[in-house]
Symmetry: C2
Subunit: 167 residues, 2 copies
């Protein structure tokens, strides 16, 4: 339905994708000790439709992702930037998750790019063995731009497919 | 262990509690259609150790909460405010959740206070029947103030109990 989508909605999506620096994650997983619902976030880069993050398994949500748990992702504008605190612009999505191993040819290239975007911390943590590089490829999602303004998204380009009654 | 907790950690906790305007939620629930992992956020007020939010069941995470799903909550500083984008200060917690009905004597008082803090939108949505008032009382949590700086929290005052190796 992109032809009928207001330009302001497309602009909101694109501005959020351009300005957001961190990816929020919620992860559900079950193991011998029970069921766990965890939240976290990490600086990301986005390239060719893939998000990449580099995070430590000392965080429970990363352990959950490594264990094959169910994950949900979100970008959201800052509180201070939001025109209306009741309707922060946000983009929620599900994704395919792949860990890129340290021996993969892509590993160094992507770590370099994360460092270029997010600073020197990357040089410090790059060799820490508790950190993992993930490729996160969106499959479907929802963009919320205000009250009664939710839009169904499809694919890694977040193509706008429909105006939703609920999010 | 509060006696041994660095003042900067206590200050980080208190500053986040004072400045954060919205509460992040992750909710897991299962129904006839399958299992659902949802994220959302809402403006809150905090009073006597309780958080209060007023949100619509048109959002899937609110439907999940109403259905008795498992919920996890988070406060997090803005990206723009974070000194280090790799370590945004955040406070994650689990909680007891109670819906306060429209006939409850507290309903009007709390809605007034939410409106006073978060503006005129409250007057518009106050009578919308898809909105629900929730009282959210923290039970335990984790404060993260940086790399290797995670602290176990207990109770609705977020008392700092221990320095953790992981979060």
């Amino acid at each position: 339905m992109s032809d009928h989508t207001p330009n302001t909605v497309i602009q909101s999506r694109d501005r959020l994708l351009k300005t957001a620096k961190t990816l929020h994650m919620a992860v559900w997983h079950e193991d011998d000790t029970g069921a766990h619902l965890e939240q976290g976030q990490a600086p990301f880069i986005r390239q060719d439709g893939h998000f990449y993050i580099y995070s430590s398994h000392l965080s429970a949500h990363i352990r959950g992702m490594l264990a094959g748990g169910t994950a949900s992702f979100m970008l959201i504008e800052d509180e201070a930037t939001a025109q209306n605190i009741w309707a922060r612009i946000r983009l929620k999505f599900s994704a395919e998750i792949i860990e890129i191993g340290r021996n993969d040819v892509q590993f160094g290239v992507i770590c370099d790019r994360i460092g270029a975007v997010h600073g020197n911390v990357m040089q410090v943590i790059r060799d820490f063995s508790d950190f993992h590089l993930f490729q996160i490829t969106p499959t479907e999602g929802v963009l919320v731009t205000g009250f009664a303004a939710a839009y169904q998204l499809e694919g890694d380009a977040f193509e706008i497919k429909a105006h939703l009654r609920s999010d």
